[in-house]
Subunit: 197 residues, 2 copies
DNA sequence: TTCTCATGTCAACACCTGTTGACGAAGCGG
DNA sequence: CCGCTTCGTCAACAGGTGTTGACATGAGAA
């Protein structure tokens, strides 16, 4: 189902990237401490020891998986686009349909699935603040900008959790548009009266 | 900080209850697989072996902790009261201020903090459906009743997660009322046009 | 008391985790 | 060829988990 390239002879950079990709996939789908280094290394076609060796530990691996080279979640987004964009981040997490999440929302999935772990929650919290809360709040103004952004993050986490862990909020094609507009309305309500800057 | 009664001589029913109480506290605050049987047993003043012996395993303990004797979350609630009641469930999770969550919302915390664990997610999913989704949907009508209830659950999970794992959405006294009304508006938006039955 | 059974304790098991040190082997310049 | 560095593998470790069987000890009955 997930066939990575196992033929990769003594190329340090490629091996490192393969580990990072495998880690992103697994962290996003299972969460930080529901997956072992042996699984991550196995899917990368590598010995588990290399993970600790290259990244200096599982926590560092999570840090690089969360930060790393992925594009920012909010770029060129305006206040008026926010609800639709947020709903899109949630609903497009199926990606290419091969079980791989879309690259842009993979980080979001990693964050929300690793929030419960005590080892990972600090990393997740920091990344969520930097990558989600701050960009959203920057688009708003008024005293309630931060609170509104927090509510949006809450919806992201809750709805993402329902989808990825509970299998809920995954309607058929016919109802998908309805869910999207419902989510957009919800995000709009979370933003409240935080006007355009 | 949490001193349970360690003097409990050979009373099977009382020890069972003590284990269950300790498990509820820990599951609600740390989540299913972030706490060990040794911690739960330790706070109950009991040998860890007794947990497996009385409940037949950690998973069964979670099942009893989630079901159990606690009162239902939605009782005597009408459609018009729903937003305020849902917001109350979230904001009153501090309980007596001694670190113990209010009994009524403890179950909610157990559910949302154990949703990520693969061992516990099935139990959490089932309990969430029975104790939250179904009661909410029962108060609504129309084709979108289930979807609206799912959105409410998403807000509960997300906001609860932000509060318990990230420490967010915990305003000072002055802003507490504002958060409450913001949450009520959010739940109202999630309910959408699902009218009163 | 003595017998008995429920109740609780102890130590150990088997399993899994992340991590590391010692070793092997490929690539490459000499 | 040799020597050397980089890359990868192997086995093992220390720590933690849930669980279980053997043993101790309480309370109550005969």
């Amino acid at each position: 189902m997930i066939p990575p390239i196992h033929v990769r002879l003594r190329n340090a950079a490629a091996t490192r990237q393969a580990i990072l990709d495998s880690a992103r996939r697994h962290f996003a789908r299972e969460g930080y401490d529901n997956v072992g280094l042996r699984e991550i290394a196995g899917d990368a076609g590598v010995d588990p020891a290399l993970v600790s060796r290259y990244f200096g530990g599982k926590e560092q691996l999570l840090k690089e998986a969360v930060r790393g080279d992925t594009p920012p979640l909010f770029e060129g987004i305006r206040r008026a686009d926010l609800p639709a964009h947020l709903a899109g981040l949630l609903l497009e997490d199926e990606g290419d349909g091969c079980g791989n999440a879309a690259e842009k929302t993979e980080r979001l999935l990693i964050l929300l699935r690793s929030a419960s772990s005590p080892k990972a929650s600090e990393i997740a919290r920091e990344a969520a603040g930097e990558d989600i809360l701050r960009p959203i709040a920057a688009l708003l103004d008024g005293a309630s900008a931060e609170a509104s952004a927090s509510l949006c993050l809450a919806i992201l986490i809750g709805a993402g959790m329902l989808r990825s862990a509970f299998g809920l909020l995954r309607p058929h094609r016919a109802e998908q548009a309805a869910l999207r507009t419902a989510l957009e309305n919800l995000f709009e309500a979370a933003l409240g009266d935080s006007g355009r800057r």
